[in-house]
Symmetry: D2
Subunit: 263 residues, 4 copies
């Protein structure tokens, strides 16, 4: 074993990877088993082997033991209570919000904690995510998910209606993923530091029309940038290289704007 | 002035924002001026005002003084020597590579330093980016750009052909944006820690076909995920809400895979 | 009943329309029944009622009786033996080929006869479609489908390998939907009238690369136009207007070129 | 010269084709000349040569003489007074409307006559297009364009507001390309034969929302199908096969529905 091999420790997460459509997030732990249609995996056996190893199930099917990225943990390990934001949208939301290590951000609603997790992952270790949701059950599920991902220390979860105000001041960015983001504009404005970023994610174009109208009436933000993204996957075949037949045709619209000082 | 207002300090970067199509990156400094078709701005006047302020040019045209995000600095402040990777692609590359604060990554080629800058921004303050390019001029331009963005401390620039080997070991991710990434597979494999991420960005589908073939022949990587992204911007109008007439129809294909241990 | 109402005659086709996802092509005929999960429809009852009528099934579920368009007959009435060309692609193929009433065209392969049907529909009543396929079963299925659509009189079906030559001369257009269209270029060139149109439809980008190479080597065609089309459907909802979540991400690439005289 | 060569007759239209970006529609006629940046072409010289011929300009630049398709005449020969419907949309509109030789159709507004031309081209020789526009200048330009394309005999142009009623009864399809198509629903319903097709083309999503609402309130149409199409062109290069960098990101939304009998 060379120095390049990082070993799986007891209690750490692994991505069990059979193929593109068969992936599992498990914890390397004594006594537990993963039952799949490809056979059984004793999770105890994962302890001490290097990440990247090739193993076989009880019936001899090959799989790889990978160190999971956050996107793996979210897609294959998170419990979902609500429609989640897709990775393609998380990617754009993060990049255009400009957040990074040390940022202080506010989010509503928490939902299943998917965006929360990515925000926490990026603002670590000094930054902080304040996440609001009016549903106690959502907060409970999100807490479980964030714990799984090891990101709970960077998040403060609040069962509270963001439309009634944000407790935090001078925050770098506010992220709104809620049915009526236009009703949280005033609270967001008050919470943001000057020149701070507001991002909203909305599934319907009707919502986009309403928030644009509300933004212009409010006056405290620059003209928003609005876009949607499409991710088109290809079949990784040498002889039949082509996009996959089916794709996600729509998830939602992303709006990004910035607070300006109103005189 | 409330506590929410962050003041522009002498020597810091500002985004001068007239509208979506007219943006400038400037440094607040004594004696300097920005000449635009909307009038002149004395950059000295920016010192001490809060970010988010509304100001007027010598001929009375209104603009906002915003705190620039990295994406602003890259798009409006970087000198470009080569075709740069677009923000939509940077976003996906970053998210699917799983890097964050503390990651150690390798990149080739440096080009104008755009991907370098985003990688550095995210791995800060403890992580590191090692960036290879065979062109001395590219490295020079990238150095200037990274200095502008304040990210040079997190980057080691190398005038070296990555196809001949990577000096760093056990890295978390390798990013290839070069004409023939298939010729850097062996070097990437040797540099990556086990289960580490390989990302390649390629403008043509011909390149995609070649790297798939090379990956399968190499055998040390899982089946790659290949995709392209499209970003479609909307006109932010209440009465005429619609996508913009023209869009970028293609930038490149992104390939993501992971190192596995070959027995 | 006003003059605007066209009555369903015995033996004519009807589109039974419950909703966007539940459509059936039936023939109004005595003694027959359509059994659906929404109840039974006695097809005899359709005779004599006007197209556009609202009716109810045996269990009281409402449906409409519509006069089927060719696209309905193809999608809901044709037997499919092969992957068919989608309406979005048929639309572009037809428009960019310039064919209309009176055109003489050649096609290979016949497949299930879907493109054949649209070509026949447009060249009627004076034009003609010559359709080649090497599979006897394909020709049989296509014949049944074209009969259903009432278009067989305008088509000559041939069990023959188009790569070995086309019998018809001076044709207006040649349509290639076959695995190796590059092997039919010489035959197509000889069959086309000067300035005539060649269209090829190919699922993979690998095929596109091969036909481009073959076209340039042949020299008898102008530089081809190559494109793909995407059709994105919207949920027709007043309050939740948005694209549908899932869409077809890929069908194939369309190539269009024209014969020139080689001196 | 073989029988495959069709000769250019005096007075007939030709497509002068230099390359994908340089195309001209001219009439082969004595005394006239075409001046281009690639040199001069004496249009008299075209008379009697076969379509598909390779010729050279006064300064020796090569071009092809092609028989123009309708799409060429429209794109390179029509005078444009208004934003025209793009070929990709014309293709879908035509296919999903089901019209063909013999159809009787109504259209508003005429605009520059582009959709009018394609409708006329397809309903020929027995069908008819009735085209309404409130602008006398539009009708004049459309008349000139339809004459150029040889399609005027199949069209009746009317300077009339379609919202006040359609003179024709029992028509197969109505096409609305006007700012407020919802105000023409009642007129369209009365003009259509039962089960007939209504198509609307709208640039903004705001219009789509309004027409959906109006359709549901009217009650005389099935639930509409709404979609947009994207056409993505590829660079026809063997070594650099890839989509073109820029594309048209939006033209408009297409709505298709059918008249049902209201009891």
């Amino acid at each position: 074993m060379t120095s390049r091999e990082v070993l799986v420790e007891e209690g750490s997460l692994c991505l069990i990877y059979f193929d593109e459509r068969r992936k599992y997030i498990v914890r390397a732990s004594r006594g537990a088993e993963l039952h799949t249609d490809k056979g059984v995996i004793r999770l105890e056996d994962l302890i001490g082997i290097p990440y990247g190893s090739t193993c076989r199930t009880s019936i001899g099917i090959r799989y790889f033991v990978l160190k999971p990225l956050l996107v793996d943990i979210v897609l294959y390990g998170f419990k979902r209570r609500t429609q989640i934001i897709y990775p393609k949208d998380l990617a754009s939301i993060i990049l255009f919000s400009g957040i990074s290590s040390g940022s202080i951000v506010v989010e509503a609603g928490t939902g299943s904690g998917v965006l929360t997790a990515f925000l926490a992952y990026l603002v670590r270790p000094e930054g902080k995510v304040y996440s609001y949701d009016i549903s106690e059950v959502n907060i409970k599920v999100a807490k479980r998910n964030l714990e799984l991902a090891g990101l709970l220390p960077y998040v403060t979860l609040k069962i509270k209606d963001i439309r009634e105000g944000i407790d935090e001041c001078d925050v770098d960015a506010v992220f709104l993923d809620m049915p009526d983001p236009w009703n949280a504009l005033e609270a967001s404005y008050n919470s943001l530091k000057s020149s701070g970023i507001l991002v909203a994610f909305m599934p319907t174009i009707v919502q986009v029309g309403k928030i644009i109208k509300a933004l212009y009436e409010h006056g405290g933000f620059i003209k928003p940038t609005i876009f949607e993204t499409l991710l088109r996957e290809y079949k990784p075949s040498v002889d039949e290289l082509r996009p996959r037949t089916r794709m996600i045709g729509h998830t939602g619209y992303i709006l990004v704007t910035r607070k300006i000082l109103v005189q």
